[in-house]
Amino acid sequence: MADLHIDFAGIKSKNPFWLASGPPTNTGYQVQRAFDAGWGGAVWKTLGDPVINVTSRFSGLNYGGQRVAGFNNIELITDRPLEVNLREIRETKRAYPDHAIIASLMVEPKQEKWHEIVKRVEDVGVDGLELNFGCPHGMAERGMGSASGQVPELVEKQTYWTKEAAETPVIVKLTPNITDITATAYAAAQGGADAISMINTINSLMGVDLDTWNTIPNVAGKGTHGGYCGPAVKPIALSMVAECATQPDIPVPISGIGGIENWQDAAEFMLMGASSVQVCTAAMHHGFRIVEDMIDGLNNYLDEKGLASVSDLVGRSVSKYKKWGDLDLNHKVVARINQDYCIHCNKCHIACEDAAHQCIEFYTESDGTRALKVREQDCVGCNLCSIVCPAEGAIDMIDQPSDVSMTWNERQRLISTFGG
């Protein structure tokens, strides 16, 4: 059994699986249930001046056969007084001293506001703080959440104010609703952040009801934009983690968030540089006990890879993440159809004809049956045929070895010496 313990910027946890700040961490009852299920830590639902929420609040995007491929919410931060939350945090920490409790915080961008809440929250024994600079809805209209998080100067300044008062590690949670997340990640590091976490939710409108013409969700016939999360956002989150993990001037640990719903997702974020992961939507969809499979799965995977500790996994793929210009132009793969598995649906042919390079063609076998074959010399290895193919194993992408590697950047440097 591998060691799943982590030390994330000084926050110790018996495994890297934390509940992200959100509806599942609204109360002590919920967080204690989560800890009983096996979660190593929880980021308490964002504390601040208590709000009044609306109904309804959530909507799910079902795609094909999958429910909740994406999830949207217009719920704001805690609607409970700070004292109530602090009492429950204290009780929970006393009952579960080996579990990490991180308080998510959101207040107006004023120094005294950050100082006050930091002191009050740390008094009840939290293990760390997470600054919510990410929620794109509601609170942003009041100058908080992503409205703060989209301005690097405000991120740096508020992180600095927090650090002035904080004795526990400070994590800055970043918004993806920005062109370049490394700008705000850098600002957080400059402000003294001990760690960063990403991503918060993505600005979204889930849909419009074609019968009523109401937005989805709607509040008495009116709607607003919300925060999008769930499996659909994982590639966006993973890319942002990679962007930050590859920047030497962002030298802080990363907590990965965004569409993680099983151990494989978690391992991908860790390989790309996250040393803890946070989960919300999957816990809302499937319940706290999903963590059992996450723990078992990650443990088995580490054993299979011969890794003694989860920390040995962190960042192993970071060096493989490059700028496009540093990719090898001479690397070539081509599609090959395995006739033993092909079900002759012709989807690959249609996709290649309509949307790719017209290199999958019909031919007639010796027994008179028609089949499809890739004209490999015209195949650009785009993968589209294998992506749309419904028959597992029917299309393989075959590596075509090349002797010399040449990247776009190398090519352009070469051409520049020839007057190009």
Binding site: L329, Q358, C359, R375, M406, E410, L414, F418, G420
Partner: protein, 77 residues
Amino acid sequence: MQEHQLYLDEKQKIDTLLENNFCIVGIIENLSGTFVAFKQAEETGNAPQATVQLLIPETRKYVTNLLFTSRLDQSVS
């Protein structure tokens, strides 16, 4: 026409010039593709020149691969 055949046609033009003692003296890339300027190597003064326009990505890669490999060989030797 299949793109591979177009590649072979463009590659043939390049290979023919190189076989006839032309060498690459300039490369310009613009919206119309890559223009490769050749000059016959051993001539002086009014040496024969030629320019080939390359339209196909594989050929544009091929011609720079020739130069790239040549540079690599020189750096090794």
